[in-house]
Amino acid sequence: MQFTINGRLQTVDCDVRTSLLDLLRDHLGLTGTKKGCDQGACGACTVLVDGERINSCLALAVQYQTRSVITIEGIGSARDLHPLQQAFIECDGLQCGYCTPGQICSALGLAGEIKRGVPSACTADLRAGEIEFNSDEIRERLSGNLCRCGAYNGIVQAVQKTFAPTLERAP
């Protein structure tokens, strides 16, 4: 099977049962994408497919052969961090670091959704074209990403700092 991961075309010999998550972790050595439940309940496996965030654990890899997959490794490296990654560090939006790549990928997807006007359960006016990048919207939209260490405040602050600096609140 052929996949486009972080802009690179890769040919992999794998089982039709292999999930996109296991393809990344076990076959391609891209272990930045994490497994926390393997059933779409924790968000640790979040990656971007054609710019949209999905749970890679619920995706059979075979279904994603023609799509462009971006993982945390494609967002920024330890030596060359994306501004959002930098903000996570500065705001201490992480503790053990296990859910972190998923939170970051999810937040990038979130930013795109707000920009495109995709509503959320916290969007008061569904007719409004523009959605405010406020803390309620961020918290609702990131609720599919569990953090058991409880770094939630720092995560929200990091997302706001990166995408809506004028709305940022001090911790």
């Binding site: 968000g43 749970n55 619920l58 059979l60 279904q63 509503p119 569904l126 990403n145």
Partner: protein
Amino acid sequence: MNEFSYERATDPAAAIRLFSKCNGRNPRYLAGGTNLVDLMREDIEQPGTIIDVSGISQAIQRREDGAILLGAGAKNTAVASHRDIRERFPMLTQAIVNGASAQIRNMATVGGNLMQRTRCYYFYDSAARCNKRVRGSGCDALDGFNRIHAILGTSAHCIATHPSDMCVALAALDAIVHIEGPSGPRRLKLTDLHRLPGDTPDVETELAPGELITAVEIPPLPPATRSVYRKVRDRASYAFALVSVAAAVQLNESGDSILAARLALGGVAHRPWRASVAEGVLQGAPATEERFRQAAEAELQLAVGRAHNAFKIDLAKRVVVDTLKELTRRPGDEP
């Protein structure tokens, strides 16, 4: 997960042909995968052939008569974001964005949402007894942990609920399911698609083998109809409904009387529960709290609670009344 063969269908006819060809190897249609892949990993579903229909009919169209046609392959996010739906059927958008997580909504499709299976704990645990998994094996939920279970339309064989939020809104919207199958196309009211458990809780829908949902049609609402979806759950977000209410109300010009009401409940039954008894009480009635209460009482009259879920009966009534109050509030009313 068992071994299976994977086929990709490019249109409904091809999907149905593949299904017929693979009959006997337990074929299953796969769309977004958010439910079926999980169930396969849990060994609850063991398809021999997967027919990928995720690429089929993703369009969302507005027909000339004002109806909306949702392609079965349209993603939840696309439906919720669609301008027509946000403006004319806000409760559908609300139901979708209150269901699952953003990631799942980006994967899950209209057709898959209709076909998703229950979240009953015992259905998910293959060491437990479950008539839905193995007909006649018994039901461990009846006397087990049943806080999340059904109170309406249950049977002695199953008290599972249908987990969808979207379907509750669609039920209230009189949605029509477009189906294609080996014996040709047909249409079903969404409220007729899902079955009550009876003594065959393993048979969940009216679909015949090989039939494929291709679209869901939402007829236009009468003018000046207000609608809302209200969901009550344990977490503030990302949890299945304990009780949910989809309501649409058309008031008279002075706003004190109900011309028509549509009401459906989620989290309470084996299918999205169209509250037609309550609708009957509301039809043409004054828009008063007292009447709302009568409607709720009438709808829940036959509800049966078990050890942990009896609270849902009162909760459903409270939320119905409160939702109707919200929908019929006139400017200047005390909130």
